[in-house]
Symmetry: C2
Subunit: 293 residues, 2 copies
């Protein structure tokens, strides 16, 4: 009998990635597929997963039939929703075993190899996740409307609010508020129409503008970055208070937001041991070993 192989899958809203390693950890192949947030249609998600897997298999010189000897682990956006996981698992999988967890969990598994630690994702949304003594929990990450402090979407939304203040004369105009309002020809009706159709990713596209102006000491830019840093810190503080000895940051805003965190939090930040795909491989390995004692 051949030695087992391990496949890690990272399922996101825009693409799916897969990585294949042997039992010694050697890299055999990688692949990419389409959207695989598991809240999407399960047939679409499985097509994306299998596209990524087949590419990884082909690089390793393996065939479709070899899937049944592979233990797979997947970290997926949307996997916090039990009904979405059930929907995905209503289709038969082709692997020797298949374990699924949230993308936060596999990012954490990769970052700390399953040991104590916490991660803070700062992107369009934000989410904290930590594991101590095998106990894992979320801090934040409950969505744009009433959570996701420190995220790009929150920064963008607050920028628009403050620009209305500047337009009304409730707050001084700054180069940042002038720049934003100019994008809407200083017409609040146009801005409000935009808001009516805006999604979190639309708001998040204004985060770079805020960063750029904050870097030039724009008072509004500095106030918004300070607020975002405070929101992110509140999540980080709680993760560390729960016993995580250190913290890994992920997401497009993690580098720019890091200097806005208080020094004692910055000092707790470490580089991840491995990425979320290797976390997914670790998930698949542990699940297979638990099932074959």
């Amino acid at each position: 009998m051949s030695k087992p192989l391990f496949l890690g899958i990272d399922g996101g809203g825009t693409k799916c990635r897969a990585r294949l390693r042997n039992v010694d950890g050697a890299l055999l192949g990688e692949g990419t597929g389409g959207p695989s947030n598991i809240r999407l249609d399960p047939d679409l998600v499985w097509t994306s997963i299998l596209t990524a897997c087949r590419e990884a298999l082909a690089q390793a010189g393996l065939k479709e039939d070899d899937l049944k000897g592979i233990h797979a682990g997947m970290g997926a956006a949307g996997a916090g929703q039990a009904s979405a996981v059930e929907r995905l698992l209503s289709r038969a999988h082709p692997f020797a075993s298949f374990a699924i967890e949230t993308d936060a969990h596999t990012a954490w598994l990769g970052a700390f190899g399953g040991g104590d630690g916490a991660i803070l994702i700062l992107g369009t949304g934000s989410c904290g996740y930590g594991g101590v003594n095998g106990q894992c929990r979320y801090v934040g990450g409950w969505g744009f409307e009433i959570s996701d402090e420190g995220s790009g979407a929150s920064i963008g939304r607050e920028l628009l609010r403050r620009c209305i203040w500047a337009h009304d004369g409730r707050a001084p105009a700054t180069p940042l508020s002038d720049a934003l309002l100019a994008e809407f020809n200083n017409d609040l009706e146009a801005l409000i129409d935009w808001v009516g159709a805006a999604r979190p990713s639309d708001y998040a596209r204004y985060a770079p503008l805020v960063l750029e102006h904050a870097g030039r000491r724009d008072p509004l830019g500095i106030a918004l970055m300070k607020d975002a840093g405070d929101g992110a810190s509140r999540i980080a503080m709680r993760l560390l208070e729960l016993g995580a000895p250190s913290l890994c940051l992920f997401g497009g805003l993690s580098e720019p937001l890091k200097p806005w965190l208080p020094p004692p939090i910055q000092q707790a930040i470490v580089q991840p041991k491995a990425d979320a795909l290797d976390g997914a491989i670790l998930l698949g390995r542990s699940a297979s070993s638990r099932r074959q004692p």
Copy 2:
């Protein structure tokens, strides 16, 4: 020829009210109709308006045919949107003249009789509006998502955000956060499902809970009311800075929020001279006199 009559109409999202006065200001009749936010279907809105008008006419002993001798003024929710006004006016009106403005404008007209002053509406949403030397302008009131500070909807949404903090351990639990989370059986998934379908009026229904707990010195309740007071103050400060000598408060939250405003703002608050219906009558009178010099 008989002396002219004046009709004031107040068009809101749930009902329409009408009031008829003669040229000397004597009250002749009042009536009520259905929904008349003018963003709604114009046939529905006109049905609501005419139902309210006919009731007022009947009280005055007048007939349908007398409408053509009446000068009407209407303050309407939705009238800030030019396309909604156009849609309403695409149907012929039965009056001698018909003038329409926003409900904020007629509330201001009634409160100050057209003289200098400002109003601050604090209800489900919030909006400031002031007139100085005949120049009127809005401060705030651009909607729930990125404006409406100090409103019931903003208070409710911020309550939910802070209760997530308490649930996560990012902030201390208080009797208020305990009470709110208990409504969702301490299940954040259930809370987030609720948020997914919540409208501003749904969030605003939590404002009384916040007020009640703030009254008992709940730290979270006090923090939320202080924030709401700060948001409302920022609007009021700007209205006064623009030259309004005094301020009238309107809306269900105006009484409870008043003590949370800084004393110099409280001292600028006066009682309105008349209500929005009499403001609408004033609108109808001025429009008719401008048209018949």
